[in-house]
Homo-oligomer: 386 residues x 2
């Protein structure tokens, strides 16, 4: 107390001063046609940005930089609700280069694969390697390392190994629970993992591949609230009515979009998000991912703002990412300039108020050596000596 001012407080004060007009904003975007995920309407506003946050709508704001958008559409930055970065075959840094081209400014990652090999040092690596990038990497803590007790992978993560990670501010919950047997048999370690996440109101992901309606009762009773493994309408209907968020998955191998999208209507769409789960960096780079799902959802007849909600506000609510998922005061200044809303062609991307992609070019200046140390994980004989 007293004279001590935390970094957070200094920042909050700066934001409020910009919002009240006492200080100049960093950026004002004029004449934006915002896809308003709250009302579901398109609204024309000027957007004021300071220190990476939106601090106001209105004509009263002045910015160090001012840009007239001339009625271009503005949508919130997209969120991939579930992805294993390891499956892209790229580091978070290289992943981010491809992601921002497609308007993906945040992902909810599950470092299951690296944890399987390296345990908690894999989690440490992913947290460190994903810092200071133009994409926010929220982390779910791998719940099933190894996947079942019958598997012998390189590492074992018990509840007590995971618990300290909940103090890290990028950690949003417990990752895909795939060990139905551990849940059904109420294994001590699994119960602790579930309670550790649920008692601090963090989200617990499911992985209900092939689960029956009866199994889904057990999963929901255990506090598991998402699923990204639906492949049929029947599976998705059962999970929807039981209160699972349904992440519609379209990756490099598993492709469930066409099967599931008929279930999404204006009436039900708040419970659906988009995810990739596993996607190769080449596929992401060339064809996009979440942006492409938004486009396809619009083509099936969904209202563009509903499709955008599925990639923004919905995953934000699902994972409690309170300042992500909308273009509005108090939200992070992650947004896309979109030339044609129905075609959803992304011309520029802003991350925390900074232009990171514009006219087919990545504009973000990557710092050198951002990754943490990667311990030796691959061992080969000295090839020269053979």
């Amino acid at each position: 107390m007293g004279g001590e001012i935390s970094l957070e407080k200094e920042m909050l004060v700066s934001l409020i001063k910009a919002s009240s007009g006492e200080e100049l904003c960093d950026l004002v975007l004029k004449n934006a046609q915002i896809a308003d995920v709250f009302s579901g309407e398109i609204i024309q506003r000027n957007i004021a940005v300071k220190d990476g946050y939106i601090v106001g709508f209105g004509d009263e704001y002045k910015g160090a930089e001012e840009i007239d958008l001339k009625n271009a559409y503005v949508a919130p930055g997209l969120i991939d609700a579930h992805i294993h970065i390891e499956s892209t075959l790229a580091t978070p840094k290289e992943f981010s280069r491809a992601a921002i081209k497609h308007g993906i400014t945040s992902v909810v990652m599950d470092p299951h694969e690296i944890a399987n090999v390296m345990g908690t040092s894999g989690l440490d690596y992913m947290l460190k390697a994903s810092e200071n990038l133009p994409v926010d990497f929220m982390m779910m803590l791998p719940s099933c390392v190894p996947a079942t007790e019958f598997e012998t992978s390189g590492a074992i993560l018990h509840a007590e190994d995971l618990k300290p990670f909940y103090r890290r501010n990028k950690v949003a919950g417990l990752a895909e629970v795939m060990d139905l047997n551990a849940v059904r048999s109420t294994s001590e370690d699994m119960m602790t993992k579930l309670l550790d996440a649920n008692t601090i109101h963090k989200t617990v992901d499911g992985h209900g591949s092939g689960l029956s309606p009866h199994d889904n009762n057990i999963y929901r009773t255990a506090g598991i609230t998402t699923d990204h493994e639906c492949t049929t309408l029947e599976e998705a209907k059962d999970r929807l009515e039981k209160g699972f968020y349904i992440h519609i998955r379209e990756g490099s191998v598993a492709k469930n979009f066409d099967a599931l999208i008929p279930l999404v209507t204006r009436n039900s769409c708040r419970r659906f998000t988009f995810c990739t789960d596993d996607i190769y960096i080449s596929d992401l780079n060339e064809h996009g991912s979440i942006d492409d799902m938004v486009r396809r959802a619009i083509k099936t007849g969904l209202d563009p703002v509903d499709a955008i909600r599925m990639a923004t506000l919905n995953p934000s609510e699902c994972y409690g990412l309170k300042s992500k998922g909308a273009v509005a005061p108090g939200y992070e200044a992650d947004f896309l300039i979109v030339d044609d809303l129905a075609e959803f062609v992304i011309s520029s991307v802003y991350k925390k108020g900074q232009l990171v992609y514009d006219k087919n070019e990545v504009k973000y200046s990557y710092p050198e050596n951002i990754a943490g140390d990667m311990p030796d994980t691959m061992n080969l004989p000295d090839l020269g000596k053979r």
Copy 2:
């Protein structure tokens, strides 16, 4: 670790065993027509209940008690999103008697009035006096005691007084911020209060009576995410697009339902809830409150499930009440039996799986002396000696 089993774990194990069918359920309600707040549809299911929670949908469950609902409708227990219990002129216990008759099984209370007089011992009293009742009383911590620095009430609550209360599991956030001046001028104590709530992802309520669009920018930038003071469509539109949840208020004095309901559509309804703010116990008892708003919303043409969402899932999401607001596995067994969905006539009320109201009679057995000690707060001369 080891042999130590917490109460929470014991309960989770019991729920999962009932869900998997290994143990008998307490109650099975057959042939329920559930208002499914997720899909927005009416679905016919059997509902299995154990230890106050719903543990499954399905024909496979057996219960110690089994009731055939014969296709009666079942809706989630209603939530009053913002209420000062003191303004009812009743204790939480007496309030609960009136509330359950009208299907209100949870409230988000702001003990602003008692805190103004008694400070933190008022908060302690309200937490204690609201235990073991057929209504859950979630508490928001009064942010503005006194309301402004120009007021001299009986108590002052600083950030450091409030912070320890966030450890109590009924505390859902920081209550109505009404001191615009303290926010705009970034007062040290107000900044700490806002950050204490926001850094642990708790909700911060606004109280934006008469606030301009510019003021609302400042409030949202400060992390305030609800408002219950809208009186006109214009005010509500501005708050909606800025990301405030709008609590539509209909109390004994302030009545905003008719003015605001035209803004609610299927497109926007997820951002609206119902509240009373201040209602006399006699009004609640005779005319109801949240239940009546649901009825009136349906009469204006809203789909019954959308109207029910506004009183259940929406406030649950707004305040992070993860196991409230829906009839589905994993949710608390708080629900209403409703004879006619469009007329929303409540015939019975279950709280945590227990029948607490049935056929015009309160069935809950109140324990004696549930209230905590109330220190002397009113002082009169000895009237006999005058």
